[in-house]
């Protein structure tokens, strides 16, 4: 690996920065209203939004993390790929269309379409901001470490560069710039992944059977490499993690927000199809990335570059494609991070500026101009907070932060979304208790988990025995979110069947003012 920047690397990085800035400049001229800023005016087509969803979703944790996990742990690393993909069925079957039919800019808009309460909105905004911050810190810490490794610059400089770029996109180009950065990133990422996978397959003589045969002896794990159990030996913990992966996606604010960028449920549907194909092909290819890295780079070299295995894909690119492919893949990783954090800033800002400032503090009495200004101030606020947190969080494990974000999303957001759409008796109290129970239980369970506690000094942040053995508490906290909403609902006498009928009609027919001629 190079110690400084090669000319090729500089070329690719500058090209990506330049291209995305041109897009931002172009998008800034199309961003004048709040709807432009948050949802690109709702004017994206199915394939555009599908690519943008893929670009928003395939984070550095997917590209670098899963490739590394498969390289080091064989099949156990592939669990992530499966979970992240099947999650799209939950999004498509349960969430996407009703969300599009009911919401405007944020998750809170959708829930308050049924329960017009500042408390409900505030709680939803709180949960959104919490998830965004955890996810964002994970991305920024990962980005800092990666760029530090690739370019040989200091961690804090790297975080500031990424922070500056993401703020620029969102501030000037809003959702239009963010979407196009995500679309381009998705294309680049697919291109890079397909090229590497092709080279890996070529090395194995284009035979999957040969690949598996050779992988049996390629690592020190022998045939066990091709079976589950290298990393995950605790059954309940494995199941819990897979629950978080499959249910968390449907509660992630930056993914949910993407459904407001299309004009109707039909387009929302087609964008999920696009996203599922792209994301699915990508996740299949993580097998080639991981196997290739294990075989042609070797476990020792991967671990010595980065203990978590995050350098597996770039190192594989270098081994098979030389400096040019290495530089390209590093630039793709950079673009990947930029696209994801920009989407996160936007969804955090929507909760802060639209929900908390515009709807709660100003009670919706806010002009279009003020809304856009508030959105921009909110974006800067979210960006600054997450940059500061990331600067102090350098040593935190990135994969842990991401899985925590998925866990909170599945526990705090998914139950309230499902109840809002499908349960007639559900009420205001239930909406609040569902979100708070999910959010708080996920946070507390993680706080007492082995992620933070280890009896051996230096293995975790605190020295001592963890209270629970689960590294991912979704198996407890997701049911608690549902239970909290259930009990909260029954404890309150409030019912509003009329409002539910309205929500039911809207969710199922997509009827809105323009559909009715009178």
């Amino acid at each position: 690996m190079s110690n400084g920047m090669s000319l090729t690397a500089i070329f690719f990085f500058v090209a990506i920065v330049g291209l995305t800035l041109v897009i931002t400049w172009w998008a800034s001229k199309r961003t004048s209203s709040a709807s432009d800023f948050y949802t690109a005016g709702g004017g994206l087509t199915g394939w555009q939004n599908g690519l943008a969803i893929a670009g928003d979703y395939l984070s550095a944790a997917s590209f670098l993390g899963i490739a590394g996990a498969v390289a080091l742990f064989g099949f156990d690393g592939f669990f992530f790929s499966i979970g992240y993909l099947v999650a799209y069925l939950v999004v498509l079957y349960i969430v996407a269309e009703p969300l599009r039919n009911l919401g405007k800019f944020t998750l809170a808009d959708m829930i308050t379409a049924r329960f017009d309460s500042a408390k409900v909105r505030g709680t939803a905004a709180l949960s959104t901001i919490t998830i965004v911050l955890f996810y964002m810190i994970a991305q920024l810490v990962g980005a800092g470490a990666l760029i530090q490794l690739l370019l040989g610059i200091d961690y804090w400089v790297a975080v500031l560069i990424v922070g500056f770029m993401m703020t620029t996109y969102v501030l000037f180009g809003g959702m239009t710039a963010t979407s196009w950065v995500q679309i381009i990133k998705a294309c680049l990422l697919m291109l890079g992944t397909v090229i590497i996978s092709f080279l890996v397959l070529k090395e194995f003589g284009f035979s999957i059977a040969t690949m598996f045969k050779e992988m049996e002896t390629a690592t020190d794990s022998g045939a066990a490499y091709l079976n589950p159990g290298l990393k995950y030996q605790n059954g309940v913990d494995t199941i819990s993690m897979l629950i978080a992966l499959v249910l968390g996606t449907a509660g992630l604010p930056h993914i949910l927000m993407r459904f407001f960028t299309v004009k109707d449920a039909k387009t929302a549907r087609s964008s999920v199809i696009w996203a599922t194909w792209i994301v699915g092909i990508f996740y299949i290819l993580t097998i080639f990335l991981g196997f290739g890295a294990a075989k042609f780079v070797g476990k020792e070299a991967i671990i010595s570059a980065n203990a978590a295995g995050n350098m597996a894909a770039p190192l594989l690119a270098e081994a098979l494609g030389g400096d040019i492919l290495f530089s390209f893949v590093c630039a793709v990783a950079f673009a990947t991070i930029l696209a994801v954090v920009a989407g996160l800033v936007l969804s955090g800002a929507s909760a802060l500026s639209h929900d908390i400032y515009g709807q709660i503090i100003k009670k919706g009495k806010i002009t279009e101009k003020e809304q856009v200004l508030a959105a921009r101030i909110g974006s800067i606020t979210i960006a600054v907070i997450s940059i500061l947190l990331a600067l102090g969080a350098q040593t935190l494990n990135v994969a842990f932060l991401v899985s925590l974000a998925f866990c909170i999303a599945g526990s705090a957001n998914l139950p309230v979304i499902i109840y809002t759409i499908y349960w007639k008796r559900f009420n205001t109290a239930g909406a609040i208790t569902a979100m708070l129970t999910g959010l708080i239980s996920a946070l507390i369970l993680v706080a007492v988990s082995p992620n933070l506690w280890n009896p051996v000094e230096g293995k975790a942040i605190f020295v001592g025995n963890p209270l629970i053995s689960l590294t991912n508490p979704a198996i407890i906290s997701v049911p608690l979110g549902f239970l909290g909403g259930f009990i909260g609902t029954l404890l309150s006498k409030e019912t509003n069947d009329k409002k539910y009928r309205e929500v039911d009609v809207k969710a199922n027919t997509g009827i809105s003012v323009q559909d009715v001629s009178h």
Partner: protein, 112 residues
């Protein structure tokens, strides 16, 4: 939500639509389709970690050196894509019904 929008949405009589038999039937069939498929794919998905954690059935070789766990995983990928397209096909027919329901409402199926 601005006052403007609230005033406008009062113009649609949601109760009238909700009380149409055609609407009730659509929601019933739609929800039973959505939730039964959801139960099926979640079960198929959760079966994977259960089988790999508590049994060795998927650790056996299926084709050459490829073990059943990869075959099962490939099956989950194929399932995801197939169910996506099944959903679209179903949703397109639900769309037609929803249009008919709105048309019925506009033609006085409700209070008018």
């Amino acid at each position: 939500m601005g006052n403007n929008q609230e005033n406008k949405s009062i113009m649609i009589d949601y109760d009238a639509i909700a009380n149409q038999e055609s609407f009730k039937a659509l929601v019933r069939r739609k929800n039973s389709f959505l939730w039964s498929m959801t139960v099926i794919f979640l079960a198929a998905y959760m079966l994977l970690p259960i089988l790999t954690s508590y049994t060795k059935v998927l650790h056996q070789k299926a084709f050459g050196e490829i073990t059943w766990v990869w075959v099962y995983s490939a099956g989950l990928f194929i399932m995801t894509w197939c169910l996506c397209h099944l959903y679209v096909a179903k949703a397109n027919s639900f769309d037609k019904e929803a249009k008919a329901i709105i048309a019925e409402y506009e033609n006085g199926g409700g209070r008018r």
